[in-house]
Symmetry: C2
């Protein structure tokens, strides 16, 4: 089906997700989850800036809001990228393999496409970490009436991060370049480290302010 | 803005989420997250049924698929319900409060609307638990090539559950009927119990099968 997944209705996106079509799948959903988290951070920001009661934190919240809006656009873009790299990988798998030369060329093309495919969920993971990092200051400074939305943002940013991680790992499982795999695994471990605890800290902060 | 949120494009849903408009917010997002999780369980199911290699588990997977599709529809419906109860609550807050009679009537209307508003995220939480319960058998029996999607489903179902929990708690914070609050708090605690661990179990199962 042509066109952007972001142009589909939410209802249609869910129908295509549930179908046996390979995209959208877990990778695109990780990006969408991160974008929803960023959107909720922005919502708290937009309910704070311009409010007299929050005039003293306005500048700080405006900076957080700029960052969450930038991350929301980035994650929406990564949702589309995820479906594009899937198509490249799918094309590589369909290359001919009649001769030894063709087999070698096909293997090389698949390996290159796998590395490109792995880069997308890694970028989704990085962006989700950045969204999660915005949740504590937004829950602390933002409009208290919307504090639960900052909490939901933290839950979704962390779930988006770990969903992206699974999609990094499934690509790494097929990549033969061991140096690349070790480097990416270390990068992923670094992104995941301490994030489940950070999410719980935001959750507790939010519950204390309800 | 009139019409169903599910009819909006994903892009427009994200824009409205990020805006200062009170809906969609964290509650609707919890329902959408649960629906995405259910959609991913269905995707694994749809990639399994009708496949020769999985003929021996076909009947079992078909039952799981029926359940995930039913939960997906239910969570999509709850997304809409969440915006409707918000509107009822908003109307109650706008009732006149010039006389003592009006004040008493307004307070009673707000308390009733709060109980109705609390019921929706509780139902979202219940549905998310049911989606999470489908993830282990689907990761065990379903098409192994899509096992990471069952893992993402578990991450999102648990995040949807906890997001819904925050939205139950924010309503309970304003409800004066202490018997009701205690009963609902106990119900919520029961829904949350052991679910973070269950999600981690599915995650480990999925990683072991990558």
């Amino acid at each position: 089906m042509p066109g952007s997944f972001l142009d589909r209705s939410a209802s249609q996106f869910l129908d295509e997700l549930a179908s046996s079509a390979p995209v959208p799948g877990g990778g695109s959903t990780a990006a969408l989850t991160g974008a929803l988290a960023a959107g909720l951070v922005s919502m708290v920001g937009n309910l704070t800036v311009g409010q007299k009661r929050y005039a003293d934190v306005e500048e700080e919240v405006r900076v957080l809001l700029d960052q969450s809006e930038s991350l929301r656009r980035r994650l929406a873009g990564l949702l589309e990228s995820d479906t594009q790299v899937y198509n490249s990988l799918s094309k590589a798998y369909k290359l001919p393999r009649d001769s030894d030369e063709q087999k070698a060329a096909r293997t090389a093309a698949i390996q290159m496409a796998l590395k490109e495919a792995e880069a997308v969920p890694m970028q989704i993971a990085e962006a989700c970490v950045q969204v999660l990092d915005l949740c504590t200051p937004m829950a602390e400074k933002g409009n208290r009436l919307a504090v639960s939305d900052a909490g939901v943002a933290a839950l979704l940013a962390e779930a988006g991060l770990r969903s992206a991680a699974l999609n990094v790992l499934i690509n790494l499982a097929y990549i033969e370049d061991e140096v690349f795999v070790r480097r990416e695994q270390a990068k992923l471990d670094g992104l995941l480290e301490g994030k489940a605890q950070l999410k719980e800290q935001v959750y507790e902060l939010v519950v204390s302010k309800l």
